[in-house]
Amino acid sequence: DQQVKQNSPSLSVQEGRISILNCDYTNSMFDYFLWYKKYPAEGPTFLISISSIKDKNEDGRFTVFLNKSAKHLSLHIVPSQPGDSAVYFCAATPGGFTSGTYKYIFGTGTRLKVLA
């Protein structure tokens, strides 16, 4: 039972254009969401997060949008750079002080390739 789904295994984008990575979740208890980036042979690194009290969080070139009613979040990267080429995982957790908030539920990842 995949509670966090990333339906696009890969995405190619031209340098300078926008990259949009999508993520859907099924558990309505999730209220904190994160994006991690992973380069080959390295562990995932935290990129950006969003709480369910917000619908948008921006950090430089990275913006995460949350649509609670649709149980959907997306990561926008503008402008995309070749160094952004990596696997991107979305993750969800009950968040706050809920028991088990540390149990991140990860999606299967989307491999982004930014073409120079």
């Binding site: 966090v4 994160l34 690194t45 957790t93 149990k103 990860f106």
Partner: protein
């Protein structure tokens, strides 16, 4: 070192053998996590340690899996009588404290191959 380190980076073993994977968390991090990523799947939570509290073992897939942590330092994940379905990348993460989403720092992982 500044980050989470794991050893070995790669491990090939025969079915039925026991393996031990090691994680060195970031100094001062009280919380430590183990995840597994099988081919084509997302990261799967296995076990969580927080200080001297009883670990949360709810993610361990079978009793062949166990983990220990000495205080707030090194952790070892042991898989007994390995099976081919145990083949995966095993990732360790640590954080300053639990419950603060976004602060889990991951190691590079151990790629386990069971023949």
């Amino acid at each position: 070192g500044a980050g989470v380190s794991q050893s070995p980076s790669n491990k090939v073993t025969e079915k039925g053998k026991d393996v031990e994977l090691r994680c060195d968390p970031i100094s001062g991090h009280t919380a430590l996590y183990w995840y597994r990523q099988r081919l084509g799947q997302g990261l799967e939570f296995l076990i969580y340690f927080q200080g001297n509290s009883a670990p949360d073992k709810s993610g361990l897939p079978s009793d062949r899996f166990s983990a220990e942590r000495t205080g707030e330092s090194v952790s070892t994940l042991t898989i007994q009588r390995t099976q081919q379905e145990d083949s995966a990348v095993y990732l360790c993460a640590s954080s300053l404290s639990a419950g603060l989403a976004g602060e889990q720092f991951f190691g590079p992982g151990t790629r386990l191959t069971v023949l």
